[in-house]
């Protein structure tokens, strides 16, 4: 456990103060950011999605902007727009909220598909094209999006291809009994404002990301991941199996998790820890196929041999 590890764990503790009893989700969110992936938090309203997103941004000491998506948010509201400057007789690009290190996209599925795709393009390519010019986004660039379950009214479901851009999807879920009791005793919900600011420095974060990339994945482990990914394609539980991009994401998320666990190598347990979050939103269960309808990523984990 290096000092760097410890400081990342401090972030976890800081968030744990506001999000009672969600330590695992917090760690997954951290792992997602360390693995250079974007995060999608999906759950019913009122369980702390926005708190987690804002708290992360605050604790990590990164510049952040928040966009509340509604049906009338236009792409230019996200990426920015060119304004005519009369004094200089030219258009000047006015960067939008996407030009920040952490973008909080609240309730992303309430925006129209047009707006969604503008954001998702920026996420994938790390730059914004406007009027024939390309403006690079800052590094690091994280998107933390929240959304309500798609069955809720007034939502536009994210297409498969766009869901694939998010490394992880987290479900926060209701707090457990003890955590909720503590919350009620406290009387008010703590907000992200109450998170201790700048728990780690920016350079520490970049260093951590570099360290995560150096975590070792052995042949045996890569084979395990390969078996898992291929199993999702052949098992017949889903309409589509995992893509190679998903497999790469699974590996890097596992690396980040292993690093947070204080190891410099990945074990199958790490893969299993991140698998549901990485694969859950990419695997669409087959509809109406009797028993297999209830089968999900967890069943894949229970059916693939750890060693060949």
């Amino acid at each position: 456990m290096t000092p760097l590890n410890r400081s990342l764990l401090k972030v976890e503790e800081a968030l744990d103060v506001v999000l009672l009893g969600k330590r695992e989700q917090v760690r997954l969110a951290l792992a997602c950011l360390l693995a250079n992936g974007h995060l999608l938090i999906e759950d019913v309203p009122g369980v702390g999605k926005t708190t987690l997103a804002l708290g992360l941004a605050k604790a990590l000491d990164l510049s952040h902007q928040r966009v509340q998506f509604t049906v009338d948010v236009m792409p230019s509201d996200i990426t920015g727009s060119s304004i005519y400057r009369a004094d200089q007789h030219q258009f000047e690009f006015q960067p939008g909220p996407v030009f920040s290190e952490i973008l909080l996209a609240d309730e992303i599925n309430r925006a129209m598909p047009k707006t969604q795709s503008a954001l998702l393009e920026a996420m994938e390519e790390g730059r914004v094209s406007q009027d024939g010019k390309t403006y690079p986004l800052p590094v690091p660039f994280f998107v933390i999006a929240t959304q309500n379950p798609i069955t809720h009214s007034g939502t536009f479901a994210l297409p498969e291809s766009q869901k694939d851009r998010f490394l992880m999807r987290l479900n926060l879920g209701y707090p457990d009994q003890n955590a909720e009791r503590d919350l009620f005793h406290r009387g008010v919900a703590l907000l992200a404002m109450d998170v201790e600011a700048a728990v780690i420095t920016r350079s520490e974060l970049l260093e951590a990301k570099k360290a995560v990339q150096e975590v070792n994945t052995s042949n045996a482990l890569v084979d395990y991941v390969l078996r898992l990914v291929r199993y999702t394609r052949s098992c017949g539980y889903f309409t589509l199996g995992l893509s190679p991009r998903a497999g790469l994401g699974l590996l890097s998320a596992s690396r980040a998790w292993a690093w947070l666990e204080g190891r410099d190598f990945v074990m199958p347990e790490d893969v299993q820890a991140v698998f549901v979050s990485v694969a859950g939103h990419r695997l669409q269960p087959l509809q109406g196929m009797g028993d297999s309808a209830n089968l999900g990523p967890l069943d894949c984990l229970a059916e693939v041999d750890v060693v060949a």
């Binding site: 070792n216 052995s218 229970a302 060949a308």
Partner: protein, 685 residues
């Protein structure tokens, strides 16, 4: 803890269908195995078996597994009791075969796991041997091999992962395995030591099998004529003699009781080996017979074969009934050029007549004796009378009673060989000429493909032998004067000529011969069967020894034992080596797989369970530590080494293996040897 990997625990999705196909295959194998016995056991047994199979099949579709133990016991008990009642004696072979069949099928109701299926298959392999208790023909062998094929296919299906073999695929798979086994089959057949059996099973062959008997009651041979069963095949050294001179003597009936002729083994007739230049050498391959006599041509001199000798009456006697296919080499004198003498006791024996039975015949004999002083004249007189007044027919009507000879000779005058032979011999005795009846076969069919003569039950024949001073025993066949075509053309020709209708096997046999193509095919098949009997079925200890000695003349019995030992060691060595190589073969079972498996076993988890296989060692250790923390603690070193080898590129194979062995040894000590711990761990389990 975690359910055993059984048929039961596989009942989900495709596994259900797999289980179903296994049951279908098992039942198919059983039906094939039972089929040859269908006519041999009572029908209710097969009905019972079919019911059990049907029940199993219906159960395979649904999930109703349970049959209470009491019900299982009842099913078997009912079967055994009925079997007992219908056979009423337990020492017949069919009773035991029936019992085995019942057990084979009843095991189906106990089918719960793979192990039960293996037991059924094992029993099936054993059961296939019972086929050979009844027939050793080439057809039976091919059929039994087909049964084994299906059994092997079922084994293949059981061994392969569920759903991987569809339709008839297991058959094709197992055929390659069986083909690979053929060289071993040949080697074992040629070299495996043949021991004479330590005990013999009393085969109930007499039941329902036609054949000659050692008594002549008028009307017996008629029964034989209706059977086309093969009796024996004879191969001659050189040209076979003409059909009319082929009198296959089998039984000599020398005692007359009333009107019945019997074989009396205690008769004292001196057998004098003849010295003559014209000997006839031939080989007989006999099919199973109910009598202990081997057919031979007149004046048999020498016989080579197991357990046979030439008896004083000049017939070949075996020490037991010919229960299996056997081969005999014989030499006969065709024209004995010597004068036989008849001792006084045997002269009296061969002249004895019942003093009460057949008064008319005795009176007529006496009259003949007085009228014609020369025995030859008396014989000629009687034959002349026969030729004039008697008719050959296969349906003479019944002639029975104490004075049946009188009735036949002076009243009905219609009959066939046995009537003629029996009454002629009685008449000869009455006329003062020593006489006896000979039962056997006459003629036979020549098969040009196999160059042998084939004799079937419908060739059964009876004739007389009389003793004439200065000449000796002479064959007199009264049938040949009444119906010469019976002798010239054989029985088949006789029936064709006379146009007598026979609605049975013989007639079908003859009708089928009418089709030329079929006849040729039949001859070829029969020749093949003959070859099979001679080379395969008859391959016994002496044949084996002859064969071995021909190739290795200096061979000794001791060497044979040594060779056998070396061969078996070699086989076991190869088996062991293949097992070792399989273990080493990294592709099939990797080190990691084995370590993981063994570790799961240490943690009392079932390594064949997919859920266990999907757990990493660290997780397994966590599960273990919930069950017994102090035991799981022992595994820390192994888990560390395993993880290091697998995911860190650290520890070598040996280190991990050593750690695993250490863990196993410690566990052994911990669980069983450590004082005070034993009962605790037991109570936990």
């Amino acid at each position: 803890m975690i359910a055993r990997n059984s048929l039961e625990s596989k009942v989900t999705g495709g596994a259900e269908r797999w289980r179903c196909t296994t049951i279908h295959w098992l039942i198919m194998g059983q039906v094939l195995l039972l089929l040859p016995h269908v006519l041999r056991a009572p029908n209710w047994l097969w009905l019972y078996c079919a019911l059990l199979m049907g029940w199993t099949l219906s159960r395979a579709q649904s999930d109703r597994y349970a049959m209470p133990s009491a019900a299982k016991l009842g099913v078997v008990a009912i079967g055994v009791i009925f079997l007992w009642l219908s056979f009423s004696q337990w020492f017949t072979v069919m009773f035991w075969v029936g019992l085995l069949a019942l057990m084979l099928v009843a095991k189906l109701i106990e089918l719960r796991s793979d192990r039960d299926a293996y037991q059924i298959l094992l029993l099936g392999f054993f059961f296939s041997l019972t086929h050979f208790l009844y027939s050793e023909s080439i057809l039976q062998t091919v059929y039994t091999l087909a049964c084994l094929w299906v059994l092997c296919a079922t084994l293949m299906l059981l061994q392969s992962p569920p759903g991987s073999l569809k339709g008839l695929e297991p058959l094709w798979r197992s055929s390659s395995t069986l083909l690979l086994a053929i060289p071993l089959l040949i080697v074992l057949f040629v070299f495996f030591p043949r021991m004479s059996p330590f005990w013999t099973i009393p085969l109930d062959k007499n039941v329902g099998v036609t054949g000659l008997s050692d008594r002549l009651v008028l009307g017996d041979i008629d029964r034989l004529v209706r059977s086309d069963e093969l009796v024996f095949r004879a191969t001659f050294l050189g040209e076979p003699p003409p059909s009319r001179s082929l009198y296959w003597r089998t039984l000599v009936l020398n005692e007359l009781a009333g009107s019945d002729w019997r074989w009396n083994p205690e008769s004292r007739v001196d057998f004098v080996p003849a010295v003559s230049s014209s000997t006839l050498s031939y080989t007989l391959v006999t099919q199973p017979l109910s009598i202990a006599f081997v057919p031979s041509l007149a004046r048999v001199q020498r016989v080579f074969g197991e357990g046979v000798r030439v008896s004083p009456l000049g017939v070949v006697k075996s020490h037991q009934a010919l229960s299996s296919v056997a081969q005999y080499q014989m030499q006969s004198e065709l024209e004995p050029a010597f004068d036989e003498s008849l001792t006084q006791p045997s002269r009296i024996q061969h002249l004895s007549l019942s003093t009460s039975a057949n008064p008319i015949t005795r009176a007529y004999g006496l009259a003949l004796k007085q009228q014609w002083p020369k025995p030859r004249d008396r014989v000629a007189q009687v034959l002349n009378w026969f030729e004039r007044e008697f008719t050959y027919t296969l349906s003479p009507g019944t002639v029975s009673g104490e004075d049946s000879i009188d009735t036949f000779l002076f009243d009905t005058k219609r009959g066939f060989c046995e009537h003629f032979a029996a009454s002629f011999s009685v008449l000869m005795r009455a006329a003062g000429i020593p006489a006896r009846v000979v039962l056997g076969y006459q003629g036979g069919q020549y098969n040009p493909v196999g160059n042998y003569i084939e004799v079937r039950q419908f060739d059964a024949h009876a004739w007389s032998e009389i003793w004439i001073e200065g000449v000796g025993w002479r064959r007199v066949d009264p049938t040949s004067v009444i119906a010469p075509e019976r002798i010239e053309k054989g029985m088949t020709g006789m029936i064709r000529l006379s146009g007598q209708t026979l609605t049975d096997a013989t007639w079908r046999y003859l009708q089928l011969q009418g089709f030329a193509g079929f006849y040729q095919l039949q001859q070829r098949l029969q020749a093949l069967g003959h070859l099979w009997d001679r080379t395969i079925v008859n391959y016994d200890q002496s044949e084996q020894w002859t064969l071995l000695q021909r190739h290795w003349p200096k061979l000794d019995t001791k060497h044979l034992g040594l060779i056998g030992l070396v061969f078996f060691l070699l086989c076991f060595g190869m088996l062991g080596l293949s097992v070792l190589l399989n273990r080493r073969g990294g592709e099939r079972v990797s080190h990691a797989h084995r370590w993981h498996r063994d570790f799961a076993q240490c943690a009392s988890l079932d390594p064949s369970n997919p859920k266990v296989r999907a757990k990493g060692v660290v997780e397994i250790q966590e599960v273990w530590s919930k069950l017994s923390p102090e035991e799981a603690e022992l595994a820390t070193n192994f888990v560390h080494e395993f993880v290091s080898h697998q995911y860190q590129g650290g520890s070598g194979v040996l280190t991990v293996t050593r750690a695993l062995w250490q863990l196993k040894a410690t566990l052994l000590w911990w669980r069983w040897v450590r004082p005070g711990k034993r009962w605790r761990s037991l109570s936990r389990a």
